[in-house]
Amino acid sequence: MNEIVTPKSLGLSREDLPNSYIGRAVPRPNARKLVEGRATYTDDVTLPRLVHAAFLRSPHAHARIVSIDTSAALKVPGVVRVFTAADLAAVCDPWVAVLAHLKGMKSAPQYPLPLERATWQGEAVVAVVAETRAAAEDGVAALAVEFESLPAQVDMETALAPGAVVIHPELGDNLVFTRTAETGDVAAAFASAHKVVEATFHTGRHTGVTLEPRSIIADYNRADGTLTVHHSTQAPHMMQNVFATQLRMAESDVRVICKDVGGSYGIKVHVYPDEMAVACMSKIMGRPVKFIADRFEAFGSDIHARDHRITGRLAVDAEGRFLAFDIDDLTGIGPYSVYPRTSAVEGNQVVNLCGGPYAFANYRCTTTVVLQNKAPTCQYRAVGHPIATTVTEGLVDLAAEALGMDKVAIRRKNLIPDDAYPCTSPAGMKFEGLSHHASLDKLLEMVPVDKIRADQAEQRKRGVYRGLGFASFIELTNPSPFMYGIGGAKISAQDGCTVRMDPDGSVVAMSGVTEQGQGTEAILAQIVAHGVGVPVSKVKVVTGDTRTVPYGGGTWACRGAGIGGEAALQSAIALKEQILEVAGAMLQAQGASLDIVMGEVVDKATGQARMPLAELGRIVYYRGDTLPKDLARELVQTRHFITKEYPFAFTNGIQASWLEVDVETGMVKLLEHWCVEDCGRVINPMLVDEQVRGGIVQGIGGALYEHCVYNEDGQLLTTTLADYLVPMAAEMPDMHVGHVETPTKESLLGAKGAGEAGTAGAPAAIMNAINDAIAPLGAKVLAQPFTPDRILRALGTIA
């Protein structure tokens, strides 16, 4: 003890010692229950006197609610009660989703159900509660609701035009937020440029499609005034706060439990009015109410994302050096900013991230965030990243073309040098340490560029069009309070872990970060086993219960490993010190002369075994009378961690996509995909690799298939998995993942996030590959998703 703990003294870079779990592909301890069908998702929970909710949803994009007749619904067998907006507003305060640091941002108050007007097709308007979901749906079918259809403002391009329907008249107009970041002299840079390239890109509105839909059971107990919520959420403490605040309760009277969560990707980190309605109804009825969205409801009411039109210009000098980026982003977010993260953050991220991998001096980027009568958009995996990467990397390829430069060479020339850190980007982002050049080197070891180019030339002679595309990216992880807290949102940027040794020497770790399949519990077990000195099989991890785990932010923005993992490591180290102090008293040795290896107290110098932890536990817990009276003996320690020096831990990477475009059909066949990413310390390479692959596939989805399509009246046309395409196994390529490790110095562990890297870079790599493939035909596509229709139009095959 008393020695300073360092990554080296903890053996964080050794992999082969018996006790060393960091960097090892340990299987997930919770995987077995998943493969045996014995997990507990929210819908698997059932409670005495449980009733089920179903909602009547607005058939119009914009409509006044004229009248609601519930009499027939109440006669349907099994229906218990019907709730309208006013019933719920009596127990629940409305919320307004703005952040103070997004200057000038505005949004309208939102209620669990809308009081007067429905503002998107799919918005829940009336709730029916019944003994079964089927009966509740029968009740919904028997409701008589009269709507007066109102003109809808659907197109974001005209949302600010004179004569546009102002969705919330009290706001004055449909402008939610606008921000411009400007550095250097952009006009002068463009004036002096050797070449200027310009293009307009679209990223299609898409959504998360968690396979498990949004799910909630609210259970209000009148006897003790507590609300227990079983919830498929990523941020249980945030939801505890929201339920308590809106329902006027004490936070400690609300408990949020999330056991297994069937996918989230950012979709399940928001406040949904229908879920708030469920909590309200339980509070009013004093009995548990369950709501499980069906797929139709999911498409129309889960948050959407990425509805952007972005025009960008890049100025380069004669050597191909980047002089300036000038970017204009427009995004439509639906009728409300989503609470509490706000729907302005995606556009704000575009401003923060464009041009991110490159060294250049002059930057201007504006985002304009407007309202429209479509489902609300908000944060979805890799918020803003794929948009910023698409614009940046699309412009980089255009510049290479304009200069006749090789696409790798132009990147090599402009990527921020690996020895330039720490530094601040023109957008104002502080970079602690990135590895763009090392990552590019690694990528080029993996991608056989010469072979591919030779094949490409050969195939073209046969009329087969193949393309290779690259995309560098930066990824924002480990967010500090600068993301939400400074704006007034009650979203924790710190996280805690409590580690306890039980009498038999096994260890329980309770953490505020959550598990949605990333393997959070596995890496926490590895970290704690490593830190305390026990076999990983001896560590049990508990997450997802606000009554028992330390207060924290949950899992979003890739904070699980970097923030939650560091809290686990710090608490494990503290527990080890405490155990060694007790062991020292028992063994009449200095704590500092002892160590713990694989569950055994050993002599540090010789490695000689002194006492198993089970023996230490037996004495501490059952024969405390034999120990010195004043010995502190709590074998439980809690530590919380928050990043301090940098607002975010940026990571970086680069992807490459190799694909074939069928110029007859417009179909894209993916051949191979590569990603090199630097998430700092890799805790479990197997988990990181599959996170990256899963992220790539979601990026591919946005690039090629996924699209929430509305008609001009604001009717959503893609409401089943037959209309809305998601990637399937047969279309996906083999994906090769490589790593460069630049641990952050903010923490001992050095971990940064990896979950968004794949999604951040894949769409841009695919766009560039498609355009590389069809370049000989003089065609180019810039609007995602790159459907066969759009590709054939670009080729001039169809008009």
Binding site: A31, V35, G37, G519, A722, V726, M728, A730
Partner: protein, 163 residues
């Protein structure tokens, strides 16, 4: 609208008799009547495969089959396949390869993959991809799933060869 029908069937080797609403789907029957929550619903349109279970030896979409039609049927769910040990090797390969992230698709994926093991023991990676193409997984990149199925096929072939 809700007429009831009496059915008697075998589920995971146990005899079960119930009176069911005619509109009740098999997957909801398993989940709500029998507490077998391993099979999940995600699309309820027969598209995603999350609800896949076995009826009379064949993988079926539990969201498309009405429970009322199953009088006399033999149904096996992921719980039954786990207890019988029939796909223990496949499940271990899924764990070893991290072929499940959130696990929501996994029971359906395993029932489908179990079918490959018997129907196409020599399946190539492409054939495995084709075969599981009716089962959506939103978390993994599918690659680990393909790896796990391929590992299992290889191991079974090796065991056969030794025998």
């Amino acid at each position: 609208m809700n007429r009831r029908i009496d059915i008697a069937l075998t589920v995971n080797g146990e005899r079960v008799a119930r009176s069911v609403d005619t509109r009740l789907h098999l997957v909801d029957f398993l989940r709500t009547e029998l507490g077998l929550t391993g099979a999940h619903t995600a699309c309820e349109h027969g598209v995603c495969g999350a609800c896949t279970v076995r009826v009379d030896g064949e993988p079926v979409r539990g969201c498309l089959v009405l429970a009322a039609s199953l009088d006399g049927a033999v149904v096996e769910t992921i719980e039954g396949l786990s207890d019988s040990g029939e796909i223990r090797d496949l499940q271990e390969a899924f764990v070893a390869r991290n072929a499940a992230q959130c696990g929501y698709c996994t029971p359906g994926m395993l029932v489908t993959a179990a079918d490959i093991l018997t129907q196409a023991p020599n399946a190539s990676r492409e054939e495995i991809r084709e075969h599981i193409s009716g089962n959506y997984c939103r978390c993994t990149g599918y690659q680990a799933i393909v790896d796990a199925v391929e590992d299992t096929l290889k191991a079974r072939r090796t065991r056969e060869a030794v025998r």
